[in-house]
């Protein structure tokens, strides 16, 4: 598309054309109205003069007879730029006046008419036009009095010329203005297009230029920039995930492969093969779990799970998780307690349950009192082995926290602990994917909250802080009906 073609196609230019047409129409009608009114006024003026003269001359004819009238007409006809006068007999013979010729039939009808005429003293042979009035006098004489219409014609000419010029000016100014505006808009749009093309080509850090005028294009650019910001964050997240997958899934895959190879090379008995295969299945199950957790984190972080939210009671979730994990904690020599008050929240129940389950699993795994911290031979108190799940409302936030009294996480490591695949030194020996806290954090972020890690003196408190349901008060639409159980 040529530059001009592009210009002509802009909305600004098209709008200009519409306005141009409207303005031209307006100017034309204004001038038309003016011209028509002027013409009417002039015609009125002429007829007033002619009527007055007709009256005067009729009176002279009445008082002084034909001779007086002829004299008077001759006198009047001699004045410069005078009106037209013609006095005829019954059979059309001219007696007095300054009219040389008339269109045929004018003298035959009385009253007003417009006619071509020629003066007696005219040098050129051109016809003029006049507005004339014919009166029937007594004894068959007819008197014509009229006035030249040249003035009216000239005035009309001036108006027509003015119309031409003004329309020309409107068109030129309009098209010029349209091109100016369209080019201005086009330049900014082109700048935006250029940036978006660079972004599409892969440079995600590009941002649209935002002017200072705060007009609609600036607002659009600002919004697009916010969108780009989000896309970039998502892309960075995705890249991080794929980097981590590459790094941390390849390790167990390699291990899996090595074991299979080793079994193939060294196993002699069926029992050995069986053992190797069982280990392989175990390892691949672990891989699948890691993979699922990664996908879930990615989905939570991208906000896809937002569609699946409803209102429920956070305490109910905490009680459910407590019920599920209590025997496990007890078997591990810990005690799991729960302290809740009904707190309505809006969210993805499944994800919040899983996040809380992860925190509880972590507490059971890593929250055992450190043996070194206890005096030699001292009996570890029951309190130190307690894990507490707590749900409460604090201001406009709902806090779901899990507190243990284990070694905790040093303040410097806390931020680090939430990252994907990070397994702190203390936990290396325990099984786990290193994704538990990352998932909890992603779930909190999805709900517009955060995961907080704090010191429990000693131990660790992990808190999911999410916004409380607005205006819920005591109204609590807790769903006690579970998802229909299909395998039943």
């Amino acid at each position: 598309m040529t530059a001009f073609g592009k210009l002509v196609r802009t909305t600004a230019f098209r709008l200009t054309l519409v306005y141009l047409f409207l303005f031209a129409l307006f100017a034309a009608s204004l001038l038309g109205y003016f011209a028509w009114n002027t013409r009417r006024m002039i015609t009125e003026q002429i007829s007033t003069t002619v009527n007055a003269e007709t009256g005067e001359l009729s009176e002279i004819f009445g008082r002084r007879g034909l001779r007086g009238l002829v004299n008077n007409i001759e006198n009047r006809a001699l004045r410069p730029s005078a009106n037209l006068y013609l006095l005829t007999t019954l059979n059309g013979q001219a007696i007095a006046g300054n009219v040389g010729s008339l269109a045929p039939g004018v003298m035959g009808t009385t009253g007003w008419s417009e006619t071509a005429y020629r003066r007696l003293d005219d040098q050129d042979n051109t016809d003029h036009r006049a507005l004339v009035h014919v009166t029937q006098l007594s004894s068959g004489f007819r008197l014509l009095i009229g006035r030249d219409l040249e003035e009216r014609r000239r005035l009309f000419g001036i108006v027509a010329k003015a119309a031409q010029w003004s329309i020309l000016v409107v068109v030129v100014l309009g098209i010029g203005g349209g091109i100016f505006v369209a080019r201005r808009v086009l330049r900014r749009i082109d700048a935006m297009t250029g940036t978006t093309q660079r972004i599409m080509a892969g440079d995600l850090s590009g941002r649209l230029p935002v002017g200072r005028s705060g007009d609609e294009l600036d607002r659009l650019a600002g919004n697009l920039n916010a969108m780009l910001e989000r896309i970039e964050a998502l892309m960075t997240g995705l890249k991080e995930v794929s980097d981590n997958i590459a790094h941390d899934l390849k390790t167990p895959l390699t291990r899996l492969r090595n074991r299979a190879e080793e079994a193939l090379a060294k196993s002699a008995t069926e029992a050995e093969y069986r053992a190797a295969l069982e280990r392989t299945i175990e390892e691949s199950d672990g891989l699948i779990r890691t993979f699922n957790a990664l996908l879930m984190i990615a989905r939570a972080e991208s906000g896809q799970a937002r569609g699946n939210m409803d209102d429920f009671d956070a305490a109910e979730v905490a009680n459910g998780i407590h019920e599920l994990y209590e025997p496990l904690a007890e078997d591990d020599g810990m005690s799991l307690r729960v302290k809740t008050a009904p707190v309505p929240v809006h969210g993805n129940r499944e994800l919040i349950s899983q996040a809380l389950a992860n925190l509880v699993e972590n507490a059971i795994k890593y929250g055992k009192p450190a043996p070194s911290a206890q005096p030699q031979g001292a009996v570890v108190s029951m309190d130190a082995k307690q894990i507490l799940i707590e749900v409460r409302r604090e201001g406009d936030q709902v806090l779901l926290s899990v507190t243990d009294h284990g070694p905790g996480i040093p303040a410097a490591d806390r931020k680090h602990a939430v990252e994907r695949f990070v397994r702190l030194e203390a936990s290396r020996t325990q099984p786990g994917s290193g994704l538990g806290l990352s998932l909890a954090s992603a779930v909190a972020t999805l709900h517009g909250g955060e995961l907080r890690l704090s010191d429990a003196n000693p131990g660790l408190t992990a808190t999911l802080a999410i916004p409380a349901l607005k205006g819920a008060g005591d109204r609590l639409a807790v769903q006690t009906q579970d998802v229909p159980q299909k395998v039943a």
Binding site: R289, N292, L295, E323, P327, L328, K486, V487, A488
Partner: protein, 226 residues
């Protein structure tokens, strides 16, 4: 049991057919959605195993078409999409169970057997009996022989589910889904601990154990050794 497997990946389909035949079931195979639909309509199958993403006609639309024609054969959906919302979508489309890939054959077999039994089985009973163990679903009473047993509410639901599927393998995931309504995988052996508690209540001190661990698959409640 007659099964129809609708799966486009030849290798996993052949594996499934072979594996089902080895445990004594009859399994047919369809390679795409259209073929699957016509076979499912003409054949008399107990359970359909349908891959969600199929050539020619996807799994969900196949199920929709079947249900529309009044065919209510239980369907288990296999899918690489394992998230909760995908699962809900699958069940809404008319599926009866949903198993994300990759799955273990033991898990698939257990679920398929439960589905087939439900289809042909008798109406819901109010009392379940396995050996001398008796569970009354209305009064929430459990007794073994003459001994009344005291169970926690969740233990009751766990036992109820196991007894409802007495003689069938029930996997850990099935228990987590149906007794607790969670659809995530715990990283720990949390279900095993609940089972061992339940076992200590119903089997401890009795000569014949009823609650059995099926290695590599899950659990089963049954009387005696078959």
């Amino acid at each position: 049991m007659r099964l129809l497997i609708i799966e486009d990946d030849r290798e996993s389909a052949d594996y499934l057919v072979k594996a089902f035949r080895e445990v004594g079931h009859i399994a047919d195979l369809a390679g795409d959605g259209e073929e699957g639909l016509s076979l499912a309509q003409s054949g008399d199958y107990d359970v359909l195993v349908v891959d969600r993403m199929l050539p020619k006609r996807d799994g969900l639309s196949l199920i929709g078409a079947l249900r529309e024609k009044g065919n209510h054969t239980p369907v288990l959906i296999l899918s690489a999409l394992g998230q909760v919302d995908d699962r809900i979508k699958g069940l809404r489309a008319g599926g009866d169970d949903y198993l994300p890939k990759p799955y273990s054959f033991a898990e698939l077999l257990a679920r398929v057997e439960v589905l087939s039994r439900r289809h042909g089985g008798p109406a819901e009973e109010t009392t379940y009996r396995v050996g001398d163990l008796e569970l009354d679903r209305l009064s929430h009473r459990v007794a073994r022989g003459k001994d009344e047993l005291t169970l926690q509410p969740r233990e009751f639901r766990l036992l109820e589910y196991l007894m409802k599927h007495a003689g069938q393998v029930v996997t850990r995931t099935m228990l987590l889904e149906n007794v607790w309504d969670y659809h995530f995988d715990p990283q720990t052996n949390v279900i095993d601990v609940h089972i061992s508690r339940l076992r200590s209540k119903i089997d401890k001190g009795f000569e014949r154990p009823l609650l059995h661990t099926i290695r590599g698959a899950g659990y089963m409640i049954r009387d005696g050794i078959r």
